[in-house]
Structures are given as C-alpha cells and as structure tokens.
Symmetry: C2
Subunit: 396 residues, 2 copies
C-alpha cells in the first residue's frame, strides 16, 4: 500500500515539520541521547532521525554532545555513537511582575531554567513613568546577569494589577497611579524588540499554579492579600475573557472584596498606615490562632467575604479546584476550613481546596510561563508554512 | 530534500489518515465533485486522490455519483470525469430532549440532515419510568420514520433538566419527579447499543446556539422561561464543569432565580394553575407592552432578577455574548434593554446581548450536535491507530 501514496509537496512539508517536532520533543528537557534512542522514541527510521538531527543541528536547535557527556565518562569502543542534546540556550524569554511594592524580572532559556533575575522596589504612590522606568532598569539588570542582549529575547510577558484588554491597554486599575489607559508593555517591548504580552496579575498567578503548583483542568486561583483577585484556568488554559476581565468577581455588588482586608485589619487597632496592612493582617491571623475572640470573628467575616465571590465563580464554572494564593496563603490553616464550610452551604459541587506554595514570585513565574507558551505555540504550529528555524520562531 | 526522508511505517499511517481526512473534509457538506477538484482542494496529487477516494469508496464513506448528478444534465464528451460524494447516510446520530411537558427526538445523518423525528407529550407530574418509557417510544417512532434500526445509530445524546454528573447520573433536579439519582441515558443506551451522553438542557441549548444561532468564542446562554437556567460555551467548546454543574448560578443566595417567574406572573392575577404559567407570563409581557404600569414594574423586577445571576457569570468569565433563549425569548424586546441597563451598572465589560431565534427545539438540536461532535472526534483523531473504517468510527 505504501507505494500507492506518492507524496505531494504539501505532505512533505507537513511530514518534515512533524518529524522535526518529534525529535525536538524527545530531546527537550532531557539529557543528551544517541541517535538510536531518538529513533526508538520517535518511531522514525535511523536514517530519517539522522537527517532530521543534522538539519536541526545546522539550524541551531541541537548540539552534538561531547563523547563523554552524559555517558558516565566511559569511552565507547570503535565508532562512538552520535549523541545530541536540545540547545535550550538557543533562545530566551522574559517574565515580569510589575506590582504595587516591587518589580520582579526573570530571564529563562527555552527549558525554563532561570539564567537572570532582578528585583527592584517601588512605592505604591509612584507615578506610572517611575514604575515603568524601574521595570526597564530591572529588565536590563536581569539581562546583564544572564549575559544577554535585549535582541536575544524571543518572547516576553508582564503581569500587573488591573484589567488589561487584548491590545495590552489597562482599562481599569484601582491600585496603581496613572496606570489606567496606559499600555505598559509598549515601552518595554521597544527595548526588547519583541511584543510584551500584558496580563492581569491574578491570571498569571493562576497560570503559574497550573504549571508549578496544584494542577487541575479547571481551576480558580485566588490572589488573596491586602487586596483580592482571581484568575481562571479552564480546560487547562488560562481564561482571560473577551476584554481581559475574567475573574473580576470583586466588582459584584455586595460581595465586599474591595474593603475586605481593610475590615479584617481594623480589628487589630485600625491605626496602621496603608503600607503596613499586610503586617497588621498577619497579627490578626496570629491572634485568631491564639484564640482571641475578636480576631476569630474578624477572620470569620473575612472568610465569608472571600466565600461570597468564590461561590459565585464556583456556581458559574464548576471547577475541580480552588487555590488560595497571595500573601494570605500563609493563613490557609485558618481560611481554607472556613471557606469550605461557606462553599458547602450553597455550591452544588464542592471543589477541592488547596493552599498555594508558590510564594511571592507566582506572578513573575506566570509571566515566564506565558512567554514560554508563546514560543511553544510558534514552534508546534504544524500548519505553519514558516520553516522551523530559530530566526523564524524568534519572530523578529 | 525529499529523497532524504524515507518514511517509517508510523509516518505512512499518519499520512494516509491525514489524506483520507482531507478528502472527506472537502466532500462533507457539499455536492459531488470530480477527482480533479478534490485534488486541487486538498493539494494531493491526482494519483493520491484517486487511491484515497477508491479506499474511502470501498469502506463506504464515499459513493461514485451518477454521470449527470450535480453536473446540470450535460454529458461530458469522451471519458466522463469520475465524481464522488460523501455518503452522509453511512451513519446516523440521535438527539433527545426529555423535558417537563414533552419529549423530542431527532434522527440525523452525518451531515446533520434530519431524517426522522418524533414528539410526545408528558405531564410535569409523570413518574420517571413513565417519562423514560415515553422517550423510548418516541425514539422507536423517530427511527421508524427514518427507516432505521437501533443498531444504525452511531452516537446519541440527551438533554434534560437538572445537574448531570460526568457518569450520566442526575445529581440534582428540582423539576422532574424521581429524576434525582437516575441515569436516564442508561435505559435508552441499551436500546440503541451505543452510549447516550446526557447533559443539562441549558448546556445543550447553548451548544445549539453556538451551532445554528448567534456565535461567539465565549458565550452565556440563558434558558429563560417558567424556570431560569444557563449554559456556557468557553473557547468555542461547551463547558459542562467538573460535576456537570456549570451555569448553576441560580443556586446563588439572593439571586432569586428559583421563583422569578412565579413573581412575574403573580402580577397577572396569581390564580393560574402551575402548567399555565407560560401563558400567564405572555399576558404580563403583552400588558407591559401596552404600558400597564403594574406589568411594567413586574417585568422590570424580573429583568433585575435575571441580571443578578447574569452579572455574576459575566464578572466571572467575561464573555463576548449573552443570548436570551427559552420560552421568554419572545419577550426579548422588553427584557434585553433592561438586562443591558442592569449589566452596565456593574460589569467591567458589557458583552453583546442577543435574542435566540432557535425556538422550542434548541435542546434537541443541541443534543444532536453533541452526538455529531462525538462522531467527528472519532473521525478526526489523527492519533488513532484505528483504521478510518465506518465500523470503527461507529464504535460498537
């Protein structure tokens, strides 16, 4: 039957791309492997494997490993088996978190190994241009640490507070001065020579959770701290919404998210300046653990506030999992049982509840993941008529 | 370069399947076409096209069309060009709506042409076994009209009221007696010799809307009538939720969906028996159109009730579109402007609002679409090691 299928040019292109992607998939994220193993893993003939590996080597995707690299130092007798590894350093991506108090930049290679990072402090009251200039400085510092130039970056993403429309413009922002109406990715994009995909911080934290933390096909991630936000993963994908406004349940009348943290810390005296609200909350949680009835009541009320928004989202999308992330995830011992009780009263199906363990860098990690996804999409697009060359995937 | 890619057996299988699917895709839903046109449309060589068409013909997917079929009666001079058409009648699917007042069955071929249908009345108070027996009778009647046997059905789906878990069991149902705890697809599936995929009626109406009505990547469909329900389409796919409970926002405290229609018709006198609530609602809508202030106030209140649930869903998923369907879609002139005003007060991004024009059979059409999707998924699975033969796709 095989002879009856003379292949048209289109088929050859498709087949070649499929073969190249198979070889890359086998080598990405792993040790150097000899051609024989690559052939076994892909189902390609030895000869095809050799041709594909040579093409990918010439393009810069693969590198022939040293004779003793990954083989425990033993020398082969006779002709040494040719081994290849994926050149993760062929390209790099950037993930940036531009927040209220700080900017975090990560630079990683195509296997998500972080090769440069920089953190810079900003103040909640800083004007937009100061915040963006700080981000630009942090970006240059992280690239310098990695020994890279801006042109070496294939894709970049940024997480920040507010609703960000598909064009990258901030259409609503309650927190950052001068942020509304801005396109914060534009300025950094011109530095990098590649577009910067800007997304809501809670959305990117959800993506990071899906990548590095608790996993589920459909998930609600709560960014819970001195402010409350939510990000959704639906069908394994980040769901941003038509105008980037998915997860903005805090705007629902009566849900009480805008001042929930304020009411929580009012219990602790109410005299704290705005920037110390996180510490004040920590003291309320500690007092509640010690059994202080006023603090317990405040935590009860805060959990009920959180639950009102989460209940509406759970009844809408019926997720497998709800993850408590953000600064208040360290109070999961207090918040999750209360959240479970509240949800059980109304939800038809109670999702799994977990505390995030990703810590402060969840948003920056989510931005990194989004940038890596952009590269992966370019690489794995079988329909593409573009050759699978680094310069084409780099997209510049 | 072509010679350098000797194809392994795996590649041949993949390529052959891809070629077969290309030819089927070109012919499905269209008139008979000569080999030359199929070759042009697929990019396959003439010889490959001929081989693939002969294989598909032998398997029953294609049929060689009569010489003058689809060619306007003109006879070709010399050797007539061979023409093929997709044999939509090679397989059939069934869509069933089991509702409060009636059962609707559609039987369609693989191009969604309805070849048999049957409607049977049931009463709201009928016990579950009476309702299921009526559905079974209606199924046999629709198959008889189509001239088919139960074994001719490749896939089937059913829409019904309530929350249906992924295993097909009704886990919550406020409307149908004896429905909770039941697996309504099981009984019909044993008749048909194929599984019956059971889904919530509002979910299937949403799928029908996506197929035959207003289209959007992300959409909320409101099944609005004497009861209120919602179905979600997210990323172009029906989103049922982890436990089949997506769109159950009516359970949210204070949203008022469970008795919204009751309060609407209470205006019209309040003495109507339960089964006439639809007619009573129609009279309220007519009175409101005539300017009756009591009726206008009742419609205002009903629209506000609907909007409370829709607002929570819009803030969660930020859809492109909200569609008003169900029996009250004929009052879209009254309800949509009010809904728009209410949503604009709270939502960060106002979705498009449209009235469904699908009418009473939306749920049965959605069930048909779900069954067709099941067949399509089996057919287009490129990973499949199963040959693309009707017996394999039929899955029995």
């Amino acid at each position: 039957m095989t002879e009856s299928f003379p292949s048209a040019a289109r088929d050859q292109t498709l087949l070649r791309r499929a073969n190249e992607l198979s070889v890359l998939a086998v080598l990405r994220g792993g040790a150097p492997r000899p051609l024989r193993e690559i052939s076994d893993a892909t189902g390609l003939s030895w000869r095809s494997t050799q041709v594909v590996a040579e093409i990918l080597d010439a393009q810069g995707w693969l590198v022939e490993a040293e004779a003793d690299e990954g083989s425990g130092g033993r020398r082969a007798v006779g002709r040494p088996a040719r081994r290849y590894r994926f050149r993760a350093e062929v390209g790099h991506v950037v993930g940036i978190d531009v927040g209220t108090h700080g900017v975090q930049v990560f630079v990683a290679d195509l296997e998500a190994t972080i090769v440069g990072s920089h953190h810079a402090e900003v103040s909640p009251g800083d004007p937009a241009q100061v915040r963006l200039a700080t981000a630009e400085h942090a970006l240059h510092a992280a690239l310098a640490e990695a020994g890279l130039q801006p042109k070496d970056v294939w894709a970049a993403a940024m997480g920040t507070s507010g609703v960000i429309d598909p064009g990258g413009t901030v259409t609503a922002s309650a927190l950052l001065p001068g942020w509304r109406g801005l396109n914060p990715g534009g300025q950094l994009g011109s530095v990098l020579q590649c577009p910067v995909d800007v997304a809501n911080d809670a959305n990117l934290a959800a993506l990071a959770e899906r990548w590095l933390g608790h996993r589920a096909e459909t998930m609600i991630y709560l960014l819970a701290g001195v402010r409350l936000g939510a990000g959704l993963v639906i069908g394994g994908q980040l769901h941003r919404g038509a105008a980037g406004a998915a997860g903005e349940i805090g705007a629902l009348r009566g849900v009480g998210w805008h001042d929930a943290a304020e009411r929580l810390v009012a219990t602790a005296g109410g005299t704290e300046p705005r920037t110390d609200r996180g510490e004040a909350a920590t003291r309320v949680f500690e007092a509640a653990r010690a059994g202080d009835p006023v603090a317990v009541a405040a935590v009860d009320r805060f959990a009920a506030d959180v639950a009102r928004g989460v209940t509406a989202m759970v009844l809408t999308i019926d997720p497998d999992l709800v993850v408590l992330g953000g600064g208040f995830s360290h109070a999961a011992d207090l918040l999750l049982p209360r959240l479970g009780t509240e949800l059980a009263e109304t939800c038809l199906h109670l999702p799994r509840l977990e505390a995030s363990e990703l810590g402060d860098n969840a948003v920056a990690h989510g931005a990194l993941r989004l940038a890596l996804d952009t590269v992966d999409q370019r690489m794995t697009s079988l329909d593409s008529t573009v050759p699978l060359a680094p310069a084409a995937i780099r997209g510049q």
